[in-house]
């Protein structure tokens, strides 16, 4: 046997390694912030949170770790995993290496949905964001076709146009909402993790997003074949319609929920799957779990930067991701998509 064949051992090993990295990074992220805490204090705070043990850590440090930093890191993990898997899913669904919830305007659609819900009841925000995401990707998919085929550049342009249109609507809505915390909205729109939901809401958020990731993983083998085209995939035994529907719903659910709690953070869904492909190869059966974990790692790192570089002030994490993501997007545009378009034209 010469070339590497994907094995279960390999998948488990990669996931354990990435989980280890995520754990260490998250612990390090608990140490830094407006007040730097020693590792021992953080460990004691976590221990007291877990067991209810008293007196091993100051109340102030305990509160910083458990009520401020930990929820925010957990949120970063959930959002990072959701957006990365959504990006990987959209890339296969649309057969476009540059597809990503942000680039396609799906994040804007979700944000618009969430904003709309504020006129009714803010508890509806996640559901409204999901609907916004679904409607946007449907519109972009429709607009991105030429002669009943997805055209790579047309699709991207459709996404950009839809995103800018939706941004216009968002600004329009903000006019009516301007009595409220406008700076908070602006931060939220740029992508911000500074307002994590309450513990129970966070638990639900995590579970539903885990379910969405599991759904994408369920069709991972099919997605590998979908990349070579729908006819091809069907001839190889893929239920194309079902696979597309699963990814369409799951990726939009993940995006919608992520946006409803964190605003529209760009480029994670683009950057992370490509990094994972470079390191671990493009088989979706490894890519999906690896992208989820790597997305969490990238988001925790980005958010830690966002809240420390200008401490005690904060940047929205979306700004950090955009600064890092835009150059990578340009690089991919000039290499991967060019190669992909050539391949399609040949």
């Amino acid at each position: 046997m010469t070339a590497a064949v994907l094995t279960r051992t390999h998948i488990v090993r990669v996931c354990l390694t990435l989980s280890g990295v995520l754990f260490l990074l998250s612990f390090a992220a608990l140490l830094v912030g407006a007040a730097d805490l020693p590792a021992k204090e953080v460990g004691a705070a976590l221990w007291s949170g877990l067991t209810g043990a008293d007196g091993i850590v100051s109340m102030e440090h305990r509160a910083i770790v458990l009520n401020v930093r930990l929820p925010r890191i957990l949120l970063a993990i959930i959002v990072g995993a959701a957006l990365s898997v959504a990006g990987a899913g959209y890339q296969a669904l649309l057969r476009n290496p540059l597809a990503d919830p942000f680039v396609l305007g799906v994040s804007s659609g979700a944000a618009l949905g969430a904003l709309f819900s504020l006129f009714v009841a803010s508890v509806l925000a996640p559901a409204a964001a999901f609907l916004g995401a679904l409607a946007t990707i449907a519109a972009v998919y429709y607009l991105g076709q030429r002669r009943a085929e997805l055209a790579p550049y047309t699709l991207l342009l459709a996404g950009i146009v839809v995103a800018s249109f939706l941004s216009g609507l968002i600004v329009f809505l903000l006019y009516w909402l301007s009595g409220r915390d406008l700076r908070g909205f602006v931060f939220w729109l740029m992508g911000d993790l500074s307002n994590p939901p309450a513990p129970m809401a966070m638990l639900w958020l995590g579970l539903v997003i885990l379910g969405a990731i599991a759904a994408v993983y369920y069709v991972a083998g099919d997605l590998n074949l979908l990349l070579s085209g729908e006819t091809e995939a069907e001839a190889l035994g893929v239920n194309v319609r079902r696979t597309k529907m699963v990814v369409y719903l799951a990726a939009s659910l993940a995006t919608g929920l992520a946006v409803s709690v964190s605003g529209s953070i760009g480029y994670v869904g683009l950057l992370v799957p490509h990094l994972v492909r470079l390191i671990f190869g493009s088989d979706y059966r490894l890519l999906v779990p690896a992208a989820a974990l790597s997305g969490a790692v990238v988001m925790v790192a980005a958010d830690t930067l966002a809240r420390t570089v200008l401490a005690p002030s904060e940047l929205p994490v979306g700004a950090v991701m955009a600064l890092a993501g835009a150059p990578v997007f340009i690089y991919l545009l000039r290499t991967r998509l060019a190669a992909g378009a050539e391949g399609a034209a040949r």
């Binding site: 064949v5 998948i11 083998g221 070579s228 091809e232 001839a235 035994g237 088989d283 992909g340 040949r346």
Partner: protein, 271 residues
Amino acid sequence: MSEATLLEVRQLSYAYPNFHLGAVNFSLHRGELLAIVGPNASGKSTLLHLLAGLLEPQAGAVLIDGRPVRSLPLRERACRIALVQQESPLLFPIRVLPFVLQGRHARLGMLGLETPQDVAVAHRALDITRSGALADRLVQELSGGERQRVVLARALAQQPELLLLDEPTLHLDIGFQTELMRLVQGLARRELHGIALVTHELNLAAEFADTVLLLRQGRPLRYGPPAEVFERELLEEVFATELDVLVHPETGRPRVVLRPEGGGAPEPKAD
């Protein structure tokens, strides 16, 4: 065994806006190589997609071992019928062995990973197509001929009974064309696949096919052994150009050549 009917096509028709295919009738035996020929836009690829069960016939039937192909569950269909399309665009880099293993997809569980048996089948498919040495290469880096063999290997990894090929010799030079056709013919003869291939290369069809189906604008004009289909008047009319049909002195199979401009009346067929 080799005479057993694998595929039966009865009164098959299909329609797009401004295009109608049909009614097509033929049967294909195990071990038989059928060439589907005809001018551009004569419905050859559409017919191939109908045979693969990817399109629902407007009327008539495509039966594999007596069962309508469209009634087979998707995965079972992929285990029995393999289709090699003209081009397989690839979005991301992939190595040859994992690419060929995609042919095993229909035989895996939902989250299944390939077993050593699947890998063995893939290696055998690579050996049959004489591309075993390519296993580690990136598909994107292969030459046209290598790539065509690898795509064929993926189809063979499906272990199909029916193999459908859409212009497998496209973009190949004459050396690769003959090599590929010998390979395909060998698959029919030795592995007893039933094979239907679409081609523009009339002489390759004449040399290697057992039967030929000639289509024009969706209408089947003639079906039979190459010598019966490749008739000068018929081909001249279908392809709207002046041709001669000669007979190869050794094989007795027909050869289609251009008639020189200003050439007089064609010589009668050589004996």
